[in-house]
């Protein structure tokens, strides 16, 4: 019973004129408590489908899900969800948006206690100054900060993030990765995050789960990410292991994702040879990237 979240043979299909179209089939995944797992795969393979089933936003067709020893049924504030678009209610301030969730999750707490929780998390994501602004007056990055604060402020059993930085420019994205990691470090919530950014997955997670291409997508390859925490982006970028893992992921995504079951392709006449040497970015480029990463707290 050391597994905190268990997805057992989770299957999702939609009815279609030509029989049910199976999007995800026999998806098995186990997360340990406090583990940060990234789900990676090509666009349209069913990552969001898996996540929204765990979130309880869509029903699974077959299979079972267990969170903290209990069968998962329906949605609830025990899972903090961060959507790709921040999904803030535009008629509530940043404070109001987070409070809406906190009121649900802490319905026995006093008003002062709730206010403290909301203010704490908004300050943590760097919105201490603008917590009473409306989403319309916040930048895209700031809105996503509110989204992250809302998920954490629920004090949920686990976090579900669906490409939370997918709509942000790369600079803001790096910044928010740090914000997320910093928050996560505090209470080590079990987290399942969807992304299609290999670097992001490597930087954030303990394990990267690759999904095969749909239809009938399933778990392809699982990679342990051994880097110690707290992680430092520039140290990571200087580590050869980082590039080895990165290459492995990219190879899977470009080569094997499309062919479920093809575990080890034999380099034959019909398939391009897998490069043996690991291409490293030129030194100046690496330096530039680490600068980007360190200019932000």
């Amino acid at each position: 019973m050391s597994d905190y979240l268990i997805l057992d043979k989770v299957t999702k299909s939609y009815p279609s004129p030509r029989g049910p179209s199976i999007i995800v089939k026999d998806f098995n995944l186990r997360l340990r408590k406090g583990e940060f797992v990234c789900l990676i795969g090509h666009s349209g393979c069913g990552k969001s489908t898996v996540l929204s089933m765990v979130a309880g936003l869509s029903e699974m067709t077959e299979g079972g899900m267990i969170l903290a020893g209990r069968e998962l049924v329906g949605a609830g504030p025990d899972r903090g969800v961060v959507f790709q678009s921040p999904c803030l209610l535009p008629w509530l301030t940043a404070f109001g948006n987070v409070m809406l969730g906190v009121e649900q999750a802490f319905y026995t707490a006093s008003k002062e206690e709730r206010t403290q929780i909301v203010e704490y998390y908004l300050t943590m994501v760097g919105l201490g100054e603008s917590m009473h602004k409306y989403p319309g007056d916040l930048s895209q990055g700031m809105r996503q900060r509110v989204g992250i604060a809302r998920a954490f402020a629920l004090s949920p059993k686990m976090l579900l993030l669906d490409e939370p930085f997918g709509m942000l420019d790369s600079l803001t994205r790096l910044e928010l990765q740090e914000v997320l990691l910093e928050l996560w470090r505090k209470d080590r919530k079990t987290a399942l995050m969807v992304t299609h950014d290999v670097d992001e997955a490597l930087f954030l997670s303990d394990r990267v789960v690759c999904m095969t291409d749909g239809p009938e997508a399933e778990v392809g390859e699982v990679l342990e990410i051994p880097f110690s925490r707290p992680r430092n982006r520039s140290a990571l970028l200087a580590d050869p292991e980082f590039y080895r893992l990165r290459e492995e992921l990219l190879t899977f995504l470009s080569d094997r994702a499309g062919r479920p079951g093809a575990r080890s392709p034999v380099a034959g006449l019909d398939s391009a040879p897998v490069p043996k040497t690991i291409p490293r970015p030129a030194a100046p480029a690496a330096k530039h990237r680490s600068q980007l990463a360190t200019t932000h707290p």
């Binding site: 969800v81 678009s85 999904c87 209610l89 535009p90 008629w91």
Partner: protein, 263 residues
Amino acid sequence: MRNIRSKLDWLLMPLVGFMIAVAVWEFVSVALCKELPSPAKTWSESRDYVLKPFEKRGEMDQGILRFTWYSLILVAKGYAIALAVGTPLGFMLGLSKTFTKIFDPIIQVLRPVSPLAWLPLGLVLFVGAGKQASELGALFTIAVCAMWPTVLNTAVGVRAIPQDYLNVARVLKLSRSKTFVKVLIPATLPYMFTGFRLSLGIAWLVIVAAEMLTGRPGVGGFLWQEYNALNYARIILCILTIGFVGFALDRLMGCAERCFKTA
């Protein structure tokens, strides 16, 4: 210089329009239709009603703004009924497909019926109310005619709520009532106000017809009485008053609508 001109444009341009309209009116009254009172005659016959707008000389002989006031009160009552019935109906249509399937056809059939057709039915319905019958009949007519834009716009607004907002409500497991108050209503508000504005316009249209037919004191009743008394100049006074009041109401609702658009 150009700047000042463009600032005055909003005032000057409409004035030019009004002057053209008055000129056409003058021309028609002089050259085409002798029965039509000229602008000057209209003014001289209406000045008592305009300059002492709140005077009450008799039941059907009162200052024009006093008549307008009566009409506005009646409209306010009928409009309130229309919103009180129309908004919940709109929400039910927007939320339930079954409800829509059952009631949408009836609504589509009732919607185009003219106030002139509803009023007699209203009078019949409330015939038991005695002296109150004409007022209740008028209210019924206003409410029945004015509620459709509110019903339909609210329904459209509810259906147009982004799935994102509903997902937030589901993920946070908001109770039904909380979802309604915190998510559904605020998200629908802009559409609701569009409906409210259109409804008010219709309510004001209907009032005149209702007063004309029932002979109640008010702008419409006054208009009909003056027509029967062959005082055509005051018909024009009434028409202008109705127009200006309608315009002012629409502007007022437009402001309210804009307030909620940003939210």
